[in-house]
């Protein structure tokens, strides 16, 4: 009875109409647009009625889980609750055009201006740009600031290397490459933190920057951070803070105070804006004063009680995005910060860390291995007991109604399960999750066949990824067409 779920194109019937726009004025397109310029055949979009569209997407959504449906402890992703008030608030600004007279958009500019200030305050930075469209985009922006800084000091040619710990998120080395740098990996020590000696050894006048996440992707706070930064600064090396993990320490410590020179934030993680199935996000970048002149165009500033877009920034690296960034996401983050205030942000981080440590403790009690079993921050790494595979535990969790953790990352831990419960989950949810994990471990060890074939109750079961990679099918085609 479980049939293939049709592709919308398969529901198409020639001549069927969905929404009818108002009848367009009768004009001769060939004469207005030039006959040679016209499309010969229309794009083959689905021809479906409105109810079919509604049913299709409604039922697709029923084949999808999200934070709104399930506990979703996907490590490194901060799948916290996305308050609906954010959506209501951002809808108030949906009909603003980026090129309307700024005097008719003062409310929007005020939000941007204040958000720049709040984020500077939260991170301990001197200036903030809201322009980057996501975390990785923020990373690139930040690294270009550093590059421009070195160039401005005549060290652009010399400083060609960026140091990245081996535990880093993949976007860090990828960003460094896009910023035109050579990437050099720095090993982690046995305690999961950056090997400070190795790092010192790697430092030198050829190094432009170190990209660090702190707490790192193992969920561990780099305890020697102040020494590390001092050592780097001594060599003229800039310190980049990947703030995707700021949810761990908001209100408890500021990267700026640690000595970091530049930071990006993920509004779609730490500041509760929804992930949308993969975006859009927003990745503001904060910088210390010496890097501020290089921030991208434009910034929002305030003059005589008016908010305006400042393009007069001669040292700027230029633009990173059209217009002013993902403004709609900024409104959401603005609302979140205004609702939580300083104490709420601090409490959010405390509860995120409390949840992570509690879960770490409880999972250890039911047999999961914790490779770095010490105080963690917002997330931690676990490994399945016995010979169980992280993948199998993940698939089994699906049948229990949970979204699995991030698996096989970071790369330096075998069978890693990176678990980030976030602060918006209750103790009961964590306890129930632990029971499920315990049952999965027990059953999986007893019955390897069972776990190897999980999940059983999902809309589809394990999918053939090998086939998809060998011969990808990236678009639908009508039958008979190849």
């Amino acid at each position: 009875m479980k049939r293939d779920f049709p592709v919308l194109f398969e529901r198409s019937r020639a001549g069927r109409r969905g929404t009818l726009p108002p009848a367009p004025p009768e004009v001769d397109l060939a004469s207005l647009l030039g006959g040679d310029n016209l499309r010969e055949a229309p794009p083959r979009l689905p021809e479906v009625d409105e109810l079919t569209v509604v049913r299709h997407y409604t039922n697709l959504s029923r084949r999808q889980v999200g934070v709104d449906t399930n506990f979703y402890p996907l490590g490194s992703c901060t799948m916290k609750y996305n308050p609906r008030v954010n959506e209501a608030a951002s809808a108030l600004f949906a009909e603003l055009h980026p090129y309307q007279d700024p005097d008719t958009a003062q409310g929007a500019l005020q939000i941007m201006y204040e958000l720049q200030g709040y984020l500077a305050e939260i991170t301990g930075m001197d200036a903030v740009t809201l322009q980057p469209a996501a975390g990785a985009h923020g990373e690139l922006t930040g690294m270009l600031l550093i590059r421009a800084y070195h160039e401005s000091r005549g060290e652009g040619e010399q400083r060609r290397v960026v140091l990245v710990p081996d535990s880093a998120h993949g976007s860090n080395p990828a960003t460094a490459s896009m910023a035109g740098y050579e990437v050099q990996e720095v090993p982690s020590g046995p305690d999961g933190e950056v090997d400070l000696d190795a790092l010192r050894a790697a430092l030198g006048p050829q190094v432009a920057a170190i990209m660090l996440t702190n707490p790192n992707t193992l969920g561990l706070f780099e305890r020697k951070i102040l020494e590390l930064i001092d050592a780097a600064h001594d060599q003229g090396v800039q310190l980049y803070y990947d703030g995707a993990n700021l949810n761990a320490i908001m209100g408890w410590a500021r990267p700026g105070d640690m000595g970091f020179d530049v930071i990006h934030l993920n509004l779609h993680k730490t500041f509760s804006t929804p992930h949308g199935g993969g975006g859009p996000g927003s990745g503001p970048v904060g910088a210390k004063a010496h890097l501020a002149p290089f921030l991208p165009l434009p910034l929002v500033k305030r003059e005589d009680g008016r908010y305006l877009l400042d393009y007069d920034r001669p040292q700027s690296i230029g633009r990173m995005r059209s217009f002013y960034g993902n403004f709609g996401v900024m409104v959401r983050a603005y609302v979140y910060i205004r609702m939580l205030g300083a104490e709420g942000l601090k409490k959010a981080s405390a509860m995120a860390v409390l949840n992570a440590n509690y879960l770490r403790k409880k999972l250890a009690e039911v047999g999961y291995r914790i490779p770095y079993d010490r105080l963690c921050k917002h997330e931690f790494i676990a490994q399945p007991p016995g010979g169980l595979k992280a993948l199998d535990v993940a698939k089994a969790l699906l049948d229990y109604g949970y979204h699995p953790p991030t698996i096989y990352f970071p790369l330096i831990v075998k069978e890693a399960m990176m678990i980030e419960p976030t602060e918006t989950e209750s103790q009961e949810t964590l306890d129930e999750y632990v029971s499920a994990m315990a049952e999965i471990a027990r059953r999986g060890l007893e019955d390897p066949e069972w776990i190897a074939h999980t999940p059983y109750h999902t809309p589809v079961r394990r999918l053939d990824e090998v086939a998809a990679n060998r011969k990808p099918v990236l678009r639908w085609r009508p039958e008979g067409e190849d």
């Binding site: 929404t19 108002p22 689905p46 998809a468 990236l474």
Partner: protein
């Protein structure tokens, strides 16, 4: 209000399970010197209070739902089903579909989106989305450089100036050479390319709204074994010959005209589509059809070996989070309109823009800068400074006359019209322009 469920008793019990007494102990591994800074932020608000506050801020803006502004963003009508569907919690609060068994909703929607983009552009494959049109352009050019292993780029001045600025930032970073070719009489001149050129970029309709003849550039580029990156407003592809048919290798653009709210410039989404041979060079997510162990059709993320989480420093791009939800809105929009509705919206937009231009150029001192044929935007030279014209119109509740960068000439303003404008709207603008310019 902070959305944490923990009661004081919960906190106590959980700390106890950890052998702790105080929350501070959870941060014992942070250096004392930097611990617990005083943050200077406004006091916390309840939902009711924050909505009142934000509503007051919103009231300080003049909504531009009937703006005659273009330049990469335009007001289009969004059918009511789209916000209703896209805001379903499952779409809103999921993330990248790493676990395909419980993510078929997003995965299939992306697969359908990819198909639609391939159809619009008449190219073979689209990725799952990029940040915006500008990032899509930058990624498209980097892709071409990777493929051709060259470092020279030529871009027409007809490409949106902000896109070109972003491109310049990206290219500077990797040490590529960017050369801009100025428009002549509003159109990209014919030219030849040297063998250092890996990517050639043009936009049609171009920034001034003019429909380009891309054939000579594409021919010249291919003669030099360069790849062509074609920037296209997706709405124009309802009526105009698509990039793939002209022979372009890569098409990019911004999805806003596909029924995304303007949102003061973002978020919307960028699209990129390529010919078959370039698929493995694409940045970002790709969704492929496959089947499950029971033989049922399903979808997965594919070719992840291009991406940062696998390939790290050698990835095709650093992109991770993209613009899935806004791209989904675009797909829903296309599905709701269908091919006929899509063409009708484009046609209405074209007709309105031409009607508006015809009226406005009759005003004294106003001159059409954009050569015909143009699509649904056009540039005028005004007899007065553009910023002040825009401001005076705004006082009358009208949003029009986007200032065009000096590089295109003095006192040039961009105008657009769409299906949202009725005869009376056009009339009102013409009237107001008459007053403002006199």
């Amino acid at each position: 209000m902070d959305f944490t469920p923990h009661t004081p008793d919960d906190v106590r019990a959980m700390l106890e399970a950890l052998g702790m007494q105080e929350l501070r102990e959870l941060f014992a591994d942070l250096p004392d010197a930097i611990l617990e800074p005083e943050l200077n932020l406004p006091a916390p608000l309840s939902e009711q209070e924050v909505l009142e506050h934000v509503s007051e801020l919103a009231a300080k803006n003049a909504p531009a739902g009937k703006a005659f502004l273009g330049g990469g963003q335009r007001p289009h009508f969004i059918p009511s089903i789209i916000p209703a569907l896209v805001q379903r919690g499952e779409f809103l609060t999921a993330y990248t579909p790493y676990q395909p068994e419980v993510s078929q909703g997003v995965l299939q929607a992306v697969f359908e989106y990819q198909t639609m983009i391939a159809e619009l552009t008449a190219l073979d494959a689209s990725n799952a989305s990029l940040y915006d049109g500008a990032a899509a352009l930058a990624e498209g050019v980097l892709l071409a450089l990777r493929q051709t292993r060259r470092m020279g780029v030529v871009v027409s001045q007809g490409v949106h100036p902000e896109y070109r600025q972003v491109l310049a930032t990206y290219l500077h970073a990797v040490g590529a050479e960017l050369r801009t070719v100025n428009l002549q009489d509003g159109l990209t001149p014919e030219m030849e390319f040297g063998d250092e050129i890996g990517a050639v970029v043009l936009q049609s309709p171009n920034f001034l709204g003019a429909i380009e003849n891309p054939a000579p550039w594409i021919e010249a580029a291919h003669a030099a074994r360069a790849l062509v990156v074609y920037v296209a407003d997706p709405l124009s592809l309802a009526l105009l010959k698509p990039p793939g048919r002209w022979g372009a290798d890569i098409a990019v653009g911004d999805g806003q005209p596909l029924g995304n709210p303007m949102n003061f410039g973002g978020p919307q989404f960028g699209y990129i589509a390529v010919r078959e041979k370039l698929v493995r060079q694409l940045p970002g997510r790709l969704v492929s059809q496959t089947h499950d162990v029971d033989g049922r059709r399903g979808y997965v993320l594919a070719l992840a070996a291009r991406e940062q989480h696998i390939r790290r420093a050698k990835a095709k791009s650093n992109i991770t989070t993209n613009a899935q939800l806004t791209a989904l809105m675009g797909a829903m929009h296309l599905a709701t309109l269908g091919p006929d509705g899509f063409a009708e919206v484009a046609k209405a937009s074209v007709a309105r823009a031409h009607a508006l231009a015809a009226e406005l150029i009759r005003l004294p001192g106003v001159e059409l800068v954009t050569p015909e044929p143009f699509f649904n935007e056009f540039a005028l030279r005004l007899p007065r400074p553009v910023q002040s014209v825009r401001a005076l119109l705004a006082e009358r509740g009208l949003h029009a006359a986007a200032p065009v960068s000096q590089e295109y000439g003095e006192n040039i303003a961009l105008f657009a019209a769409t299906e949202r404008h009725g005869d009376s709207d056009l009339h009102e603008l013409v009237q107001a322009m008459g007053e403002v310019l006199s």
